[in-house]
Structure formats: C-alpha cells, structure tokens
C-alpha cells in the first residue's frame, strides 16, 4: 500500500486509463482486447506446456494396474520362495 502511494504520478497516469475501458476510444478498446486475448492464449499455452512436462515425469507406479488380491498372492509366493531359498542355502552349507 505504501509502495503504491510512493509511485511517481506519471506511472499512475499511464496505467489508470488502460485499466478503465470506458475512457478509451473504440479502436483503443479493440487493440486492448486483442492484446488481452494474445496474453491469455500465451498463458494457456504455457500452462499446457508445464502440464506436459509434469505428466512426462510420471511416477514409477502410475502404470501398475493389478488388484490388491493379485499382489497378496505375489507377496505370499515371494515369501515362500525366500524361505525355501534360505533353507536350501543353510542346508547346502551344513552338508
């Protein structure tokens, strides 16, 4: 707020008319509209580009498409395999 008050007068007079469409001529309004549309489309394309970037950096599990039940079976099988491997390893080492 303090900063706004400290701004030089010419800066304020420059910005105020542009922000008030009623004080502009038809040509100026059209020019302003075209400028705003261009700004908007530029911003939209920037947002799209950042979305693409974010989407590209996908996470490791985003493509995992199995049920919890399937994973339960996988875990149980792996546990059995691990136990058998260790048991065999110990048996092999001791004989």
């Amino acid at each position: 707020m303090t900063k706004d008050l400290q701004r030089p007068n010419d800066e304020l007079t420059e910005t105020v008319p542009n922000e008030d469409p009623a004080a502009l001529t038809l040509e100026e309004r059209e020019a302003l509209l075209v400028k705003k549309e261009a700004d908007l489309s530029k911003k939209e394309s920037e947002i799209e580009a950042s979305k693409v970037n974010l989407r590209f950096r996908y996470k490791l599990y985003d493509r995992v498409n199995v049920s919890v039940k399937t994973m339960n079976i996988v875990i149980i099988v792996l546990v059995i395999v691990l136990v058998l491997l260790v048991a065999y390893g110990i048996y092999d080492a001791r004989n």
Partner: protein, 346 residues
C-alpha cells in the same frame, strides 16, 4: 451371533492385513532367529558391532539415496560415484613412505580435510548433474543416473589405471591417520565402538533434522507426494529437486571417504552394486517408490536388517551366488509390499 461372526471376520482381516504389510520384517526376523538357533555364537557383541560397522557406510549412502526415492526417483550411479570419489581419496591419502604411491610428488602427509573435501566435491558435482537432468531437462532419474554411472565408472578406470606403475592394481597402503578415522574406537560403557558407527548415527541425526525441520525437507515430501500440487502451492520444484540431489552428493562423498578408509584398498570394482544395497535398504525401511513417503529411522532399520541378513548368510557359509539370489528376492518382495500399500491407498 451374527455380530460375533462379523467381528471375527474383521479381526482375521486385520491380522492378515498386518501380516502382509509387515511380511518382510517377519521373514527377515525369522531368518535371523533361525541363524541364531543354528549358530548361537552368532549372537555376540563382536558380530553385532561388525554388522553395525559394515552397515554404517552403506547407511550414509542410503540416507542420501533415500531423498531421491522420496522424490519418486532413484539413483543408479551411487556405487560408481562412490568408486570414483573413493579412488581419488585413496590416491591422495597413500602413505608418503610407500614407494608405489599414486602421487610421488606428495612427500608430506596431506591434511585429511583435503581428500574429504575433494571426495565431497566430486560426488556432489556428479549428483548435481543428475539433479539438473531430472529437474531441468525433465529426464527420468533412471536414464540420467544410468548414464552418469557409466561415465563415473569410465573415469574411475582411467584414473586407477593411470598409476605411475602403469598397472591396474588397487590403491592401498594408506596413511594411518586416515584408516584410524574409521577403524579407531571409542570406549562407551566398556564397549569398544568404532568411530564409523558414530558417524552413521550423526549423519542420521542430521538427515532427520533436514527431512523434518527444514523447508527443503517439507518441500521434498510435497514434491514427492504430488509434484503438480506442490508446484501450484508455490513450491519451487526445480530448486527442491536440485537441493535433494546435492545433499545426496554430499552423503556419497562422505560415504566414499569412509568406505575407502574402512576397506583400506580401492580398485575399479569399489562401489559395485552399492546402489542396490542402498535402494533395497531404503525400500525395506519403508521409503516408498511411489514417492512422498518415508522416514530416517526406517532407513536405519532397513540398512541394519539388510546387513544383518547378509552377514548371517556369510557367517553360515551360504553359497555366495545364492546370497545374490536371496538379496534379489528380498528387494522384489519389498517392492511388492510397497506396491500393495500404494494400491490400497489408491
């Protein structure tokens, strides 16, 4: 009656849920128990200290790598970065009385801070490069770190084979001050504890502070959990990713310095497969590959459990090749449990 049956069903589901979630800890605990039953001598203070000592340098590496996994990334170059930093460290700290030293022009012992800083700078530079690839170029961490892994390995081979003797022999015969940094002990309550164990606990404490008490730590979890949401909330994603990679690099540099002192011999194969140990310790410790989940005590537990299993299998003289298979199955099991948790949340 129906209520009792329903309650019984819920209880059973809760038990099976608990067993599946903590399956890995149960299995690893049972394996250790079996080893203790077969070889009661395994449960000695010497073995416990040996396990902790071996887990310490890997633990420091895992602490660095864990941040990258929290960011939903990974680091395949960890082992080779360690190899390169350790080789450079080793070449500087060779005893000045050793005739075949790498740098014959070094005639006075170098202050140990110099090789430590050089090791940290090398590791941090490579890790920062990885971070740049991930944060700025939006490359997948797998690809960037795989590339830098090969680059670091190539440089290590060139460096080690560029010895004055013109051979590829391992860099050894270090200054005693250097080896004492790791192998020296401190008497705590009548027990001789190697310094390296204390470094590991100190590093864990510092990492705990970074993760839980700093803006970078909070942002790291935010970016790892949901990058888009973090970016929209005003988190500087690029800066956060770079920060985490640089911290990882510093951890690797320190780890390389300590590992060189611990093994007392550095060759081109130093650091081989260390990334797998670090990543598997993180996953066992509950750091999720889906990002945004994990804590420092979990990593410590993961590292120690994994080392205990490795040590116990070695202690029982289990076939070395079989040990690789067991390690592989443990990693796949840990990731499967992690995926299951992810699916449950989804």
């Amino acid at each position: 009656m129906e209520k009792a049956i329903a309650k019984n069903k819920i209880d059973k589901r809760k038990v099976s849920e608990f067993l599946l979630t903590y399956a890995l800890y149960f299995i690893l605990g049972i394996i250790l128990l079996v080893v203790i039953i077969i070889e009661p001598k395994f449960l000695s203070l010497t073995n416990l200290i040996n396990i902790l000592k071996q887990a310490s340098t890997k633990g420091i590496l895992a602490l660095g790598c864990a941040g990258l996994i929290v960011l939903a990334g990974t680091d395949l170059s960890l082992g080779r970065i360690l190899g390169l930093s350790a080789a450079v460290t080793a070449s500087i700290v060779q005893s000045v009385t050793y005739a075949s030293r790498y740098y014959p022009q070094i005639t006075k012992p170098v202050p140990l801070i110099v090789p430590l800083l050089i090791s940290i700078v090398i590791a941090t530079a490579i890790s920062a490069f990885n971070g740049f690839g991930v944060a700025k170029l939006h490359l997948h961490a797998f690809i960037v770190t795989l590339g830098t892994s090969l680059i670091a390995y190539g440089i290590t081979c060139i460096y080690v084979e560029n010895q004055a003797m013109g051979s590829a022999m391992a860099l050894s015969t270090f200054d005693l001050r250097f080896t004492n940094i790791v192998n020296g002990t401190i008497n705590l309550f009548g027990v001789q504890i190697p310094y390296v164990i204390l470094y590991f606990f100190l590093a864990s404490f510092i990492m705990y502070i970074i993760w839980n008490k700093t803006t970078l730590g909070k942002n790291m979890f935010a970016v790892g959990g949901n990058e888009e949401a973090a970016a929209v909330s005003g988190v500087n994603v690029t800066k956060t990713i770079m920060g985490v990679y640089i911290i990882a690099g510093i951890a690797y540099g320190i780890g390389a310095f300590l590992e060189a002192a611990r093994v007392q011999s550095v060759s081109t194969s130093t650091g081989f497969n260390y990334e797998l140990d670090a990543i598997s310790a993180c996953v066992i410790g509950g750091i999720s590959f889906s990002g945004g989940v994990g804590n420092v005590p979990g990593i410590m537990v993961g590292v120690i459990i994994l080392q205990a299993i490795n040590y116990s299998l070695y202690y029982l003289d289990v076939n070395a090749y079989l040990q690789f298979i067991v390690k592989g199955v443990i990693i796949i099991l840990a990731v499967s449990i992690d995926v299951r948790k992810y699916l449950k949340r989804k």
